[in-house]
């Protein structure tokens, strides 16, 4: 094989070695960075075996995870599925860290390695580094260090306090992982800045002071002295920072009975939950971005004669199975495939930029025909998450291609109704509902801590604001509530209220086990 680039294919056949990977990576990086303008963290490529891949899978995709039985369970489950041939392993795994760690499997053929490198080392990597969600929520440089700290810390706790005690805390913390996220970034103002604001506000008040206001009678409500118990409650809410949506945070800070090490464990789990928060909200975009990028890079490689036709066929085969979208009534249907949807939307953005139809010009006047597909995409990748991306960019053509339609399902009717389909009247509606489907605020239950009654019986009250009358799944809710009680140490109540009327729909209670 000749090493000269451009004069022949990079490789021929399925075998790979480290030299070859290096060579291919260089070619891929050249296209990715120089031609497509991707902005990536340095890559660290690690070759692993199938067993190691299963292992990484089981520990929610993180290397160096602390020990917990649930990871063992996932491992056993994945392994059984894998051995029976029900499920193929992912070809790659990538970690949002700096340097970006890309795991590739030793069993992959050379073509697959190229695909994986283009997909993960370029696509995901660029997305991690540039998307605002990741920039805001995750710290790529420190995550690996934090994980090894967490692992050691938890191992130490197991030594000191016994594996089962630690496990119980972790179980409870894991159950609340979904509620361990602060959805709104805390305003990180320095003390000086806050004081400055305070002074400014006072100055403004003095400057706009008007004697006349004193003569206006105050409303009766404001005047009436507060009931002492009410006053107490209000004070408590303030000191505890209630209402609080981050249950793990609240328990870590305020649960009366927890030991310091238990609080630290809650903190570790909370940090992880927060770390994964952007990933959950950018599945379509992240996978779409990576798939788009690998498709682009590999086609460019092929056009330059750097890939053989055999490799290209192999690539097309795996690419098309990755972006396969079964119909809703198919036996294999499991929701919309994020790879398929993301890839289709991004390909469509490219088409609209380069070759728009009249419809596209009407729908996307901002960028239709601007001739800069990559620039447009880079901007989308940087500034959107799944719901906003769909809201902004889902085009009528993609809706037609996927034949999307909207179903309305009401629990009190034995029928579901088709509300909109892929036609002129339905595009906007379908788009809105689909975007909403990916919105974490709509998808995850809205649960908050509302009162803690610290001066009384210390009963913790949570509220679930049920939207459209959708209640929590009872069995799971009760079990999870039991975990809350375990951490809180006293009685816990969860009230499900209608989001609009505030009417109480259902109540759950749990007591800590002795």
């Amino acid at each position: 094989m000749t090493a000269a680039s451009g004069s022949g294919p990079l490789f021929d056949g399925a075998e790979w070695d480290f030299e070859l990977i290096k060579k291919c990576y260089d070619a891929i990086e050249k296209i990715g960075v120089e031609e497509m303008g991707l902005d990536i963290y340095p890559n660290q490529i690690e070759v692993i075996t199938a067993e190691q891949m299963l292992d990484a899978y089981a520990s929610i995709g993180m290397p160096n995870m602390y020990r917990h039985w649930s990871f063992g369970k996932h491992f056993a489950r994945e392994e059984a599925l894998y051995r029976k041939g029900h499920r193929a392993l992912a070809y790659e795994l990538v970690i949002n860290s700096d340097p970006c760690i890309v795991y590739i499997m030793e069993e992959n053929t050379m073509t697959m390695q190229v695909l994986v490198l283009a997909h993960a080392a370029m696509g995901h990597n660029h997305f991690f580094k540039n998307n605002y969600m990741f920039r805001q929520w995750t710290d790529a440089t420190s995550i690996l260090d934090y994980l090894s700290f967490a692992k050691e810390y938890i191992a130490e706790c197991e030594q000191k306090y016994g594996a089962e005690t630690v496990e119980a805390v972790l179980d409870s913390a894991h159950a609340l992982m979904g509620q361990g996220v602060s959805r709104h970034p805390v305003l990180r103002r320095s003390r000086a800045a806050r004081e400055e604001r305070e002074i400014k506000r006072r100055e403004y008040e003095e400057a706009t002071y008007n004697e006349l206001w004193r003569t206006v009678p105050r409303s009766a409500l404001a005047k009436a002295p507060m009931d002492p118990s009410q006053k107490e409650a209000a004070k408590e809410s303030e000191t505890l920072g209630l209402p609080q949506e981050n249950l793990l945070y609240f328990l870590e800070k305020h649960a009366p009975k927890l030991e310091d090490w238990q609080r630290e464990i809650l903190r570790i789990v909370r940090m992880l939950a927060q770390y994964f928060y952007p990933q959950r909200q950018t599945k379509v975009m992240n996978e779409g971005c990576a798939t788009f990028v690998h498709y682009e890079i590999i086609n460019r490689l092929y056009d330059r004669g750097l890939l053989t036709e055999g490799s290209m066929l192999e690539f097309m085969h795996s690419h098309s199975s990755v972006i396969y979208q079964p119909r809703f009534e198919d036996r294999h249907f499991a929701g919309l495939n994020p790879y398929a949807l993301g890839f289709a939307m991004m390909q469509d953005i490219k088409r609209i930029c380069e070759n728009p139809s009249a419809e596209d010009r009407e729908w996307f006047p901002e960028f239709a025909g601007n001739g800069d597909p990559l620039g447009t995409l880079r901007e989308a990748w940087a500034n959107f998450r799944d719901d906003s991306f769909i809201m902004q960019y889902l085009s009528p053509k993609v809706i037609r291609d996927f034949r999307l339609f909207q179903i309305h399902d009401s629990s009190d009717s034995p029928f579901v109704e088709v509300k909109a389909i892929h036609d002129e009247a339905g595009y906007k509606r379908v788009r809105k509902v689909l975007a909403n489907q990916y919105d974490s605020a709509a998808r995850d239950p809205d649960i908050q801590v509302v009162s803690a009654d610290l001066s009384g019986g210390r009963r913790l009250t949570l509220s679930h604001r049920a939207r459209n009358g959708v209640l929590l799944e009872k069995d799971m809710c009760d079990r999870t509530l039991q975990h809350v009680a375990h951490l809180w140490g006293y009685r816990v109540k969860l009230v499900e209220q209608d989001a609009e009327t505030g009417k109480t729909l259902k109540e759950h209670e749990a007591l800590p086990l002795p």
Binding site: I21, K22, Y25, E29, P42, Q44, I45, E46, V47, I48, E51, Q52, D55, A58, F71, G72, K73, A76, R77, E79, A80, A121, E167, D171, R327, F328, E329, R331, A334, G335, L336, L404, F405, Q406, I407, H408, D409, S410, P414, F415, E417, V418, K419, A420, I421, H422, A425, V430, V433, R443, P445, A466, N468, V470, L471, L472, E473, M476, T480, H483
Partner: protein, 431 residues
């Protein structure tokens, strides 16, 4: 960019998680293993095991939105012929795999199956039964030193010379030192002879040939065909090795009074015994002898499944056992164990035969003889059966004869343990 090869990293990184998982799933696994115990053949009991786990107790709960409540809208792909306003009947619950509900994370894990290794299986098996540490203790007492091959050495008695290895070394050395072959020298001599025989021998050529011949001959003498360096001998070591063979006789009364339930009790006992023995011996034969008024050797299936009708004469089974031992299992080579299960019935006039057979012939052959009496429930436990009262005398005389009564599966192991705990002393005496 750099590439790191992680393939050689320590394996089984997930072992810690697996152990934690197994501990957590202990209850479920135990149940599954117990089920397996019912299904398995006596001789298969200690293989690895596929375990089916209902993940209910292992579910990791979290707050999630339920399916059956409220109103929701969702988008699906692949519309064929629906248009706006169409209504579709919802699938019956349970049909069609739940239908297209917008479950975010696909909760609802079904049962899943995974494999335990043999060790893990036995762990659970014995944990369930709380096996004492007697396995190891017994292993030592049963070992006998044995000569085993242990590679090669460069000195030793001539009788242990390994010719193949020696010649291989010799050949390698000869090639390495360029010892000329005999054929080469002969060819050279022939050439010289030819040259001399020819009419006008060329002195110069002759001289060169002779010099070469001289050099080769010298070399051939200097490099010997076989050198002490080449010699290799087989090496042996004496290693303590457990007596490797055991035969286990399962004797069971299959007359009509032995119900399926009683047989199941007996089966469990036999299974345990088999497992116990196979942890000591590399090879365990199992012989099944069933009897009513006459005894016959049968295979395992027949042993546990078939029901016979008729009375009970235990001595026939003992005779059959003696016959088989005589035919196939010389006592010098085999450790003989016997376990007898019955419901305690026997023809009254057979008891004398039975006891004399036991005392006189059977017990001297056996390492251990265990008799368990299976009884339907406690009501009959107070009554002493014919066999029970007869055997009591034997038990008093022989330390390696033991008897117990079992009424429920839960008792099997404690009984088993008692039997073998008492056997330890006697085994030491015998060994």
């Amino acid at each position: 960019m750099h590439i790191i090869d992680r393939r050689l990293n320590p394996k089984a990184k997930s072992l810690g998680n697996r152990q934690r998982f197994l501990r957590r799933a202990r209850a479920e696994i135990r149940e599954s293993v117990r089920d397996a115990l019912k299904k398995r053949k006596v001789s298969e009991v200690d293989g690895g095991e596929k375990v089916r786990i209902r993940s209910k107790g292992l579910r990791e709960p979290s707050f999630g939105l339920g399916h059956g409540t409220g109103k929701r809208d969702y988008v699906l792909p692949g519309n064929k012929d629906f248009s706006v306003g169409d209504v579709i009947r919802k699938p019956e619950s349970g049909a069609g795999g739940g239908g297209p509900k917008g479950s975010p994370d696909g909760e609802g894990e079904d049962d899943f199956i995974f494999s335990l290794t043999r060790e893990e299986f036995l762990d659970v098996f014995f944990e369930d039964l709380k096996l004492p540490n007697l396995v190891k203790a017994k292993l030592k007492s049963l070992s006998a030193p044995e000569r085993m091959r242990a590679g090669f050495t460069s000195d030793g008695p001539p009788s242990r010379l390994n010719r193949l290895r020696t010649m291989r070394n010799s050949l390698a050395r000869r090639i390495a030192l360029r010892r000329p072959r005999l054929s080469e020298i002969e060819a050279l001599e022939a050439e010289i002879a030819e040259e001399e025989a020819s009419g006008r021998p060329s002195e110069e050529r002759l001289k060169a040939l002779r010099a070469r011949l001289a050099r080769l001959s010298r070399l051939r003498k200097a490099v010997s065909y076989l050198d002490p360096l080449d010699l290799k001998y087989n090496r042996y070591e004496r290693k303590p090795k457990p007596k490797t063979q055991a035969v286990m006789f399962c004797l069971m009364d299959v007359s009509a009074s032995m119900t399926e339930q009683l047989k199941d009790l007996a089966k469990r006992f036999f299974m345990l015994l088999h497992l116990f023995l196979s942890r000591h011996y590399s090879e365990v034969d199992v012989v099944f002898i069933r009897h009513t008024t006459e005894a016959q050797e049968v295979d395992e299936e027949t042993f546990f499944r078939d029901t016979e009708t008729g009375g009970t004469v235990i001595s026939t089974a003992l005779e059959e056992m003696l016959r088989i031992v005589g035919e196939r299992y010389p006592i010098d080579d085999w450790n003989i164990y016997a376990a007898q299960a019955s419901d305690g019935h026997n023809f009254d006039d057979d008891m004398d035969d039975c006891l004399s057979l036991l005392n006189g012939e059977v017990l001297p052959l056996c390492q251990y003889f265990a008799y368990i009496e299976v009884a339907p429930d406690d009501s009959s436990a107070s009554m002493t059966s014919v066999v029970w009262s007869g055997y009591q005398e034997v038990a008093r005389q022989h330390a390696h004869f033991a008897m117990k009564r079992v009424t429920s599966p839960g008792e099997i192991y404690p009984v088993f343990r008692e039997l073998f705990a008492s056997a330890e002393g006697s085994a030491r005496e015998a060994g």
